[in-house]
Amino acid sequence: MHGPLWLILAFPLLGFLINGIFGNKFNRVTVSLVACGAVGISFVWSAVLFFRLIALPPESRIYVEKLFDWISAGKFNAAFSFYLDPLSALMILMVSGVGFLIHIYSHGYMGHDESYARYFSFLNLFTFSMLLLVLGANLLVLFVGWEGVGLCSYLLIGFWFTKKSASNAGKKAFIVNRIGDYGFLLGLFLIFVTFGTLNIAQITEQAPRLLASGGILVTIMTLLLFVGATGKSAQIPLYIWLPDAMEGPTPVSALIHAATMVTAGVYMMARMSALYMLAPLTMGIVAAIGALTAIFAATIALTQFDIKRVLAYSTISQLGYMFLACGVGAFGAGIFHLMTHAFFKALLFMGAGSVMHALSNEQDMRYMGGLKKKIPITFWTMLIATLAISGVPGFSGFFSKDEILWESFASPQGNILLWIIGVITAGLTALYMFRLIFMTFYGESRVKSHIEKHIHESPSVMTIPLIALAVLSVIGGYVGIPHLLDGSDRIGRFLEPSFAHFSESAIEGHHSAGTEWLFMIISVIIALTGIYIAYKMYIAKPELPVAFAKKFKGVYTVLYNKYYVDEFYGYTVVKPFIKLSRIMYNIFDRVIIDGSVNLIAYITEWTGEVLKWFQTGYVRHYIVTFMFGVVIILGYFIFR
């Protein structure tokens, strides 16, 4: 392994600087070339490093690169260093690869936007930050990336900031993320106090010695980190920002709010697996939150009409799966699903973008329908992604999701309840995803008539990334064929050294292959049932959904209004907080703080004015002051 790793980061950063500073003077093609080229080179270099890493024997697949001593103050020492192991190698490959495709897609999608250079410079900055996050060898570097992606997310959600809803969504995302970051930071402090270092490798190595398994310290530590993860990865209770984040440009939703940034929480927990494995209680909470989020978001997705919002809730739901995996100690499965999800969810978002592109930015599925023939490439690629996310055997999502479901039952941390929730969610996933497909592409066209004539397939610069991702959505799963299907689970074995594992004694007996088969078949059947219900409701009998909505009006309204969670937060948190802020502002800040500051300033200035009188301009007065000084000093020595 001979680096340098920093090259991977250097190009997107350079792209950001070039486009950020000179972008407005360039024409659009130059801007795109710089931005896509930067990420492209980064991808190529990532791939080179990835394959070099693979070529090494498994036990030596670790490469640390120290750039410089960043902070060195007293006992605290943080080096700016990068860490390449199977986990981060896979992540950089995915981030730069998917990122590259989305950059290319953006060239078509954002082609008519005025702030073209600004868009691409932010996108490059995001790629840089995300790569920094996954490569950081200590938690402080990781945190820089963590905050960097948060910043870029804010900037890109509010990209069309003249739109009030967009700028609000940006703020919401940022503020909610800050709440999570607060927990994350506290976690970092606690780790530093405990270990005296923020170096991930050292923490991993020392954790079993310094921390009692199941102890209160490690539980609090991991819970705090988990709070950060719920913010970034949109889990209950901090998921509320992600649906609103759809105000950003669609490629941004694909890159940041589906494929990469929102998975940062999962990545971080996998990275800190050594700590999590010591905290069974936290693991239980993580698994429960994950499962709950998965089913919760899936039910909301059932009733939404905005195509991007459906996908947003679907993302939250799928992230729930990944947390479930981490919670039962199946970090490898979680990361595997993270990867396949990146492929098919990025594809779904970009497909949705392509649909919107065809329909003059229409997002409401009630005004779509019958698009199958008109935009065939978009249709076929999206269908593949939908099959993948629904867990239809043969597609990538099947392998990763099945592994999670199996682990949620079979792992020492797992239980049947988690599995049931997971399986039901799988059914719901198939249902709402095919609802999306059917409402968008099948049936009668409900497109507004003035748009109808302009429907067109997107240019090839947009469709080629779709096709590439479609291919990945199909074959992406074959790196992780489970042993059950005569596969060798290559990705699982590859990632193994990066995680902590259950001790042999914790794994009580092996479940028989028969059980595994049974569970797999059940989950497949449930997924297929979901598809069938969707077919029944949205193609065979389109009047059914309306009837259902009428019949179960209460449930429907609650789901349609997303369980009123935003309203709940509004009344319990936001409103009282604003009220408190007002009081603080009017009384504490305006009267006490400003008042005392102004008073001090006034007194200071007044003293200056008084002292100025001594400066008369007459030498005789100056001599008097001089002599005054002399007399006082001599007087001090005489009378002391």
Partner: protein
């Protein structure tokens, strides 16, 4: 048998080089016609650089000469380099200014260089009479320089006031020297120190009186409150490059001799004057800053701010140990570059005659000349002590030296004072960036020589501020043999 005194002329090579340069400039003035201003300025620059080279050659030699009257320890050499740096930058500031004001007479460089010789002697002096000689060699050209713009009333007034007050202060100094001689029978620093410490019974009041009078004499040059009242008038009236020179050279020279007196000659009784220095430091910082707050004229504001900076430096004198001295040296280097930079911008933006030097005159400058506004802000930030500039590190160094010796309150007062100073420094920035332009027709040209001074100062401010390590080493080395 006649004793041949130990001359060791080599230790005054730097002074000799400056002297020869000054004489050449005078000769050029006398024997050549036509355009000679640039030639003279270049001669001055060459002389300064060569002299600087000569100084650096003496580094670590610790020579002394002329019957131990002059010493060339690293401390003195470091100060000499600071003077030369100040002189170098002043020459760059002057070239264009004096052309604009149409007073380009070669005597100017002669006077600057002569004054530098005085400073160098002052920093090397190991004996009271020599120190007095150095002070006068430094001061006499300064009186003339203050009144160099002889057609301007203010300039004349400045010269006269400075001269009268200066003579008055010199009186105290000489008076003090006589007491010391009376009390100890010597004027040599080493011997004074020996005599004092050989006496077991208390402090001789005569000695203390002499010491205090000497301190007062030098306090005039370094402008400690209440011996500062000449500063605003003189700084405002003198030609701007001269003002810059005033606020760096003589001040540094004053500190050089004060340090030598306190840590060497009067070290045995140094402790007894700490309360006085403490109060002077507080007064100097506070009064300087408070009055600067009310100023509307940039030159006058900088004059008061220079008083305040003398106050910060006084803290290091109170600390009085190696750490304090090295902090002072560091601060003086930082102070030199940032002050030259600020005055450089004042020169750049002034028009002929400098009728309007009000801070409000800079309104909206950032729109028309963004680069100049940014650089001026850099100097203001540095003077206010905001990172990552030289001023910040300098203040940090001084305050931490105070804390390390237990002068917590002094450091606190210093920090409060630098908060006050932020107000008037940042006002310049605010006016430049946030106020609409009022002088719409203002046109600024960017003469090369002036730009060299400003850019060098800006680089210096940032370099010292961001990579201070090398400078720390340098000032630490300059204390070798002193403590």
């Amino acid at each position: 048998m006649i004793q041949i005194p130990n001359i060791n002329i080599s230790i005054i090579y730097p002074e000799i080089i400056i002297f020869i340069t000054a004489v050449i400039i005078l000769l050029v003035e006398i024997f050549s016609n036509g355009k000679k201003w640039y030639a003279q300025s270049i001669i001055a620059l060459i002389g300064i650089i060569v002299s600087g080279y000569a100084v650096s050659n003496q580094w670590n030699s610790f020579a002394s000469g002329f019957s131990e009257v002059l010493v060339a320890d690293n401390f003195a050499l470091m100060f000499k380099l600071i003077f030369l740096l100040g002189a170098l930058l002043t020459v760059f500031l002057s070239i264009w200014y004096f052309r604009r004001e149409e007073i380009q007479q070669g005597e100017y460089f002669f006077l600057i260089l002569s004054s530098v010789i005085g400073m160098m002697i002052l920093s090397s002096a190991n004996e009271l009479i020599t120190a007095f000689l150095g002070l006068e060699v430094m001061s006499l050209p300064l009186y003339v320089l203050a009144g160099f713009d002889k057609k301007k009333l203010l300039s004349n007034e400045a010269a006269l006031k400075y001269f009268i007050m200066g003579a008055f202060a010199s009186g105290f100094l000489v008076y003090g020297i006589t007491f010391i001689y009376g009390a100890t029978g010597t004027t040599n620093f080493d011997k004074i120190s020996m005599v004092i410490s050989s006496r077991s019974f208390g402090i001789d009041p005569l000695l203390l009186l002499g010491f205090i009078l000497i301190l007062i004499g030098f306090s005039f040059k370094t402008a400690f409150v209440p011996f500062h009242s000449w500063v605003p008038d003189v700084y405002t009236g003198a030609p701007t490059p001269v003002t810059a020179f005033f606020s760096i050279g003589p001040k540094a020279a004053g500190f050089a001799i004060l340090f030598r007196l306190i840590i060497k000659a009067f070290a045995p009784i140094g402790g007894s004057i700490i309360p006085i220095l403490w109060i002077l430091a507080v007064l100097t910082m506070t009064v300087g800053n408070l009055i600067a707050l009310t100023q509307r004229n940039i030159k006058r504001m900088l004059a008061y701010s220079s008083i305040a900076h003398a106050g910060y430096l006084l803290i290091s004198l109170v600390v009085g140990n190696g750490r304090g001295a090295s902090a002072a040296l560091f601060y003086l280097i930082a102070y030199t570059v940032m002050t030259v930079g600020a005055f450089g911008i004042v020169i750049l933006l002034g028009e002929k005659g400098e009728k309007d030097l009000s801070i409000n005159g800079y309104s909206g400058l950032a729109y028309r000349y963004p680069a100049a506004a940014v650089v001026m802000s850099l100097f203001m930030f540095s003077l206010a002590g905001i990172p990552p500039t030289a001023g910040f590190i300098g203040k940090f160094y001084i305050f931490s030296s105070a804390i390390s010796k237990g002068f917590i309150w002094l450091a606190v007062i210093g920090i409060v004072n630098s908060v006050i100073s932020v107000y008037y420094y940042l006002r310049v920035v605010v006016v430049m960036f946030m106020k609409p332009e009022i002088q719409a027709g203002r046109v600024v040209c960017f003469p090369v020589s002036l730009m060299v001074a400003i850019i060098l100062a800006a680089i210096g401010v940032l370099q010292i501020g961001m990579f201070p390590q090398g400078w720390f080493e340098a000032v630490r080395y300059s204390l070798i043999g002193l403590f």
